[in-house]
Symmetry: C2
Subunit: 449 residues, 2 copies
Amino acid sequence: MLARSFAAISKRTSVARRCFSAEGGPYEHRAVSAETLATLKELFGDRVSTAASVREHHGTDESYHAPCPPDVVVYADSTEEVSTILKLCSATKTPLIPFGAGSCRVQCGVTRLQLESELRATGLFFPVDPGADATLGGMVATNASGTTTVRYGNMKSNVLGLTAVMADGRIIRTGSKARKSSAGYDLTRLLIGSEGTLAVVTEVELRLQGVPEAQKIAVCSFPTIQDAVDTCTVIMQMGIPVSRMELMDHKAIEATNKYSKLNNIVSPCLVIELNGTPEEIEHHTGTVQALAEDYSVQRMSWAASEEDRKELLKARHSAWYATMNLVPGSRALSTDVCVPLSNLTQVIVDTQADLEASGLVGTIVGHVGDGNFHVMLPFLHEDEPKVREFSDRLVERALAAEGTCTGEHGIGSGKIKYLRMEHGDSVDVMQTIKHALDPHNILNPSKLF
Amino acid sequence: MLARSFAAISKRTSVARRCFSAEGGPYEHRAVSAETLATLKELFGDRVSTAASVREHHGTDESYHAPCPPDVVVYADSTEEVSTILKLCSATKTPLIPFGAGSCRVQCGVTRLQLESELRATGLFFPVDPGADATLGGMVATNASGTTTVRYGNMKSNVLGLTAVMADGRIIRTGSKARKSSAGYDLTRLLIGSEGTLAVVTEVELRLQGVPEAQKIAVCSFPTIQDAVDTCTVIMQMGIPVSRMELMDHKAIEATNKYSKLNNIVSPCLVIELNGTPEEIEHHTGTVQALAEDYSVQRMSWAASEEDRKELLKARHSAWYATMNLVPGSRALSTDVCVPLSNLTQVIVDTQADLEASGLVGTIVGHVGDGNFHVMLPFLHEDEPKVREFSDRLVERALAAEGTCTGEHGIGSGKIKYLRMEHGDSVDVMQTIKHALDPHNILNPSKLF
């Protein structure tokens, strides 16, 4: 049904070479040949671009990494076209980076907000909300999650199947519309989170959820970050079905007060959302209130109307740009560790102490109901080494606490060394799979390994 | 913590050859050499057995397939020992079939009931219940699910990480204790459901759930199977958080009445379980009751006490043996399709009509909240072709309804042709992965492909 609605939206594919590894060092240089370019132009006409501005746009993201434009950008409109491009790339060993902005089966360039608007009248919604208006293809690539994952899970929980084009141009469909299956290897979940290194995902079969009857949000201010995180942990351990459980430290509140002209108390804060029937919400409100009081909550503001909820969520939603704004002219690194809930308070308390001792500017925000939090660090060029050292210490702390270096952003080029720290010899097994499925290393090379 | 409790339980590994494919035809015959056997005896002493009874036991299962004993059975007590065996098998290209009966990280031979008993005092439980007292290793191999999957998910949702021994003897650890991760390829979920063909899983990190405060079960009898399944569908679509949603057709009720000396009304029946706080259960009870009445429910029996619940669940739990008992001296085949809920009623109604027209004896039971149901078919030797034809038609029906040939049992050797029907060219990609990770095809050969 939705496939039709989105048929007009294109999937953009960059046929590209990558010039530099994450650390700035040079790596294998494979330019697109004149012959390959001519064939692409013959096949795709004016949907092939080598314009500097277009290449620049497809080589830039929200990260602190230096832009790295592809040689050529090709706009493909269908799975079959992606297959044609990959057959050509495979024959010529031309590296390719999938770029998402192309059915509920959605094409992979559909963005989250387009999908939300399409579903509005149906009483259904897609629950993975990473904050930004990401494309569904990009969300598959990184196994995205977000503020509502505590209730509804991440992409792996909410994608039923995929259409993907393999490195040699073969088109496959994985999964089914059934809620569960034990038929063969789970290619769906192997591709989700593979960051475009194993196949180009062109269509995504989404699992939708019913829009809850009612929602209610509490913003709770605590004297210390330890009180805030302990409250989160005990609410989760009680099994209260919260639909959001977000933490902001006092620095994040300070930054968002300034950036979004808000008046929140400058102290660590939990944003807790309940949803369901009004009766269910009423029942859980009392429990949440009592637990927060056990941990010396200073103020709890509840909101149930759409408008008031949006007002309370403003701070959380503007946190990234508000943090960037603390250091004019900065780039920013966001860490992404995720640890078991039983170790979360200690890891956050230690991280905040480390941040203060480091002299760096940073805010802590997180999907703490999942054990996932981000330290957002805006920095000027000369502070990059200090920021990287802080990030190294944080990952070591998270791994010692039996967690992961990345809860939702992926490895990309910035966390390659952490992948080996976390998974040891498993990384060799991952590379064996990569080599078997992409023998010429043409799919998003230099990522993950 | 639980690792210690279970250290004494061994992991049994059969170093084995498989003699025949599922269809009875011969396939590549690779016997264990005298030299390999001598090395095994040197290393493992009296934990190596070639006794006929032991070999027989490790070649027999609950399925209708003919027994196929391994040449030799080795009892390994640790991941390291499994690694030693695999290094030997890899060097000598000796096929190996993992046989589960070895922390919460549990060793893979721990059974579900042992785990349940270990956890009893903790207020926690492991929610995947396939009915039989399976080993956790076996449950990983098939991506098992069961009656409570409708609420808590299957093995893929409830396993955080694995220790596995690869075909060449390398030991890897996958996943972490964090609730989510985007660090590299999802080897955990690739191995879950891989039926021992990619690695030998030796330890499983389980996600446990809090025991709910209260539980309540309803057994609801309907005039037609269509009414029963429609009630299931509408309850699920309303988002009511049932913890069990099981269907039994009138034949299953008849069989279990006879086998377990019960007095249930002989008509299609739903078993619906609610759990949570008493207030939540009260709230949902009213809704479930009203919806069932919309579909002409004939009788609803509610039970909240442990004893009364067990009594009501007796029929569901004895269904397999009660069905076998309908045809003395029979073997039995159980189908396992799973379809989207929106197509479930039609698929079940058509399947029941097909079953009646076929003249076969069979009962229909299922985890219908997931869209998964089983037709249990006890048969005598001469009826085997008819049973297989019925199964073929059922799988075709399920695939046409955008479902899967197996919701929870796996492909094994009996559903190899269905895997190709369902996944087409994706099966080639699966085989590429198999070949990359097990180049000599020594891990559970003749399964899946």
